[in-house]
């Protein structure tokens, strides 16, 4: 089968570490499952404590993740295009561990948890590649934490 040409959006998706190992055909298939959302500057994407249903991939703009009670010193981190957050929501039903807020006007690609789980069941190869990328991402975060750096993307 001929390798499909990727759209500009799919090229940007391919740039994200989560989907870098996917072949064009696989990426096209995954893109078909993802939703597009746009957020204004300062708009809340999700709250701390909310049940996570999806993973967010930043296509453009910046997102701030912050944790801790409002008004006090909050732990904060900033993510740019190509980054993703909310990945733990894909793996379990645990509540979001931080609040996500758009720092600029943002465009996001959203991967719904049940679509991801269905993909794992029906397409082991794509599921394996994404799971491996997720495992690497989580491992990297763990190493950072062990080194004493705070990381918040594990939402």
């Amino acid at each position: 089968m001929k390798s499909p040409t990727l759209s500009p959006r799919q090229h940007r998706l391919h740039g994200a570490s989560l989907f870098r190992s996917l072949k064009p055909l696989e990426l096209k298939f995954v893109d078909g499952l993802m939703h597009e959302r746009r957020y204004l500057k300062d708009e809340i994407i999700f709250d701390e404590g909310e049940e996570g249903q999806a993973l967010y991939l930043v296509m453009s703009g910046r997102v701030q993740l912050s944790r801790g009670p409002e008004g006090s010193l909050r732990l904060q981190t900033e993510l740019g295009p190509g980054s993703f957050f909310g990945d733990l929501a894909l793996l379990d039903n645990s509540p979001r561990s931080a609040q996500a807020r758009a720092l600029d006007a943002c465009e996001m690609a959203v991967f719904f948890r049940d679509d991801f789980l269905a993909l794992m069941e029906t397409d082991a190869v794509i599921g394996y590649k994404i799971s491996l990328a997720l495992a690497r991402h989580i491992g990297q975060r763990l190493r950072f934490q062990l080194d004493g750096h705070a990381q918040l993307e594990a939402l």
């Binding site: 055909l25 499952l33 939703h35 708009e43 994407i45 049940e51």
Partner: protein
């Protein structure tokens, strides 16, 4: 969070009320509802093959066309195989002879039953029950072509275009279903987005579980009926069980037609022994009772995660409100309304989500009027 909270009595009253209202409305749109149901069943059967073709590199359109072509091609081949298996070459009168044979068997069974009743109950003999029934049967047979055939043909002709909608619906569900889901999700404000995705997923799962439950029910019915008919010695018990189970998809009417069919075959198989036909009636009634009160609540009711008591009660409510259509539609409708009602009930009363939505609207208003200061 939202998902684990229990739904209150107000929401449940609303769910039951909306289900009843929809039943009354849908009864008047049966021409669309039936093809929609069949189309949805085909959609769930073809979804997996289509996904496989997509992953094999075919485009969405080609994958959909191929999946549909394979399915309907296989169906056509099966139908051809059955036709060529049941009729010998050059034997065009085979079908007519078979139908005539079974009709004669059925009529003979009715007459024998009447005669038996007259001997057991002299009062019926005084009423000349046999001659009255014979007269009715004869009049029915004589006038069948003139009085009933035309109306049957008109009804079939009226339903055929509507039923032909089912493959078209299945095709477009397959081709555009995902786009429609995304289209719906796009219309939802950001604050409610994740919950709406969850809701759409739940509705999809509910419909899928219902149709899977229906298929399980068909298998159970086929086995129970087939076994019962095999015990009393009726020919082709499994085939008869399967046809009756499929007919039972339309509650009540389907069951009656299935019962008549089984009794006619039993009476024709053993014309000298009416006990076989009576046994077939008993088997059929037992199978239907098992189906309505055990299998259906356990398969369809459980598949929709509705309490068995509510399932049985709602079947009666559906029948009372909308007759046959109500019996057929009440469970899938209740399942979908339940999911939508429970989720919406929780979303609209969630103060944080409402506050976030208000805040996002203010941000949009502010952005839209940023350069419009007087």
């Amino acid at each position: 969070m939202i998902r684990d909270e229990h739904t209150g009595p107000v929401v449940w009253t609303g769910i039951i009320g909306v289900t009843c209202l929809l039943l009354v409305l849908l009864e008047h749109m049966l021409w669309l509802v039936l093809p929609f149901i069949f189309g949805t069943m085909m959609y769930y059967m073809l979804l997996e093959p289509k996904q496989r073709l997509l992953r094999a590199g075919f485009s969405r359109d080609v994958a959909t066309v191929l999946a549909c072509a394979l399915f309907f091609g296989t169906l056509a081949l099966l139908a051809l195989a059955v036709l060529s298996w049941t009729s010998a070459p050059g034997d065009d009168d085979n079908w007519r002879d078979s139908i005539g044979l079974y009709l004669d068997g059925g009529v003979a069974f009715v007459r024998n039953t009447m005669a038996l009743l007259e001997t057991k109950f002299p009062l019926l003999a005084e009423m000349r029950l046999t001659s009255v029934v014979n007269r009715y049967v004869q009049a029915y047979i004589d006038n069948f072509a003139q009085r009933y055939l035309a109306s049957i043909l008109v009804t079939v002709a009226g339903w055929l275009p509507s039923l032909l909608l089912a493959p078209f619906l299945a095709f477009f569900f397959l081709r555009d279903g995902l786009h429609f889901k995304k289209f719906l999700a796009r219309a939802v404000p950001n604050a409610y987005f994740e919950h709406t995705l969850f809701l759409l997923h739940q509705v999809d799962q509910t419909a899928r579980r219902y149709f899977e439950g229906l298929l399980k029910l068909t298998v159970l019915d086929t086995i129970v009926l087939g076994f019962g008919l095999w015990v009393i010695g009726v020919s082709s018990p499994l085939l008869l069980g399967f046809i009756s189970a499929v007919l039972a998809w339309v509650p009540f009417v389907g069951s009656v037609v299935g019962c008549v069919m089984v009794v006619i075959v039993a009476a024709t198989d053993a014309p000298s022994n009416p006990l076989v036909a009576y046994g077939a009636i008993v088997v059929f009634i037992l199978a239907r009772l098992l189906d309505d009160f055990v299998f259906m609540p356990l398969t369809l009711g459980r598949s929709l995660q509705i309490h068995p008591l509510v399932t049985v009660l709602m079947i009666f409510v559906g029948g009372t409100l909308s007759g046959v259509a109500g019996l057929m539609l009440v469970l899938p409708l209740l399942g979908v309304v339940m999911v939508v009602g429970e989720t919406l009930g929780r979303l609209v009363t969630h103060p944080r989500l409402r506050a976030r939505h208000r805040y996002a609207r203010q941000l949009r208003d502010k952005q839209a009027s940023a350069d419009l200061k007087v």
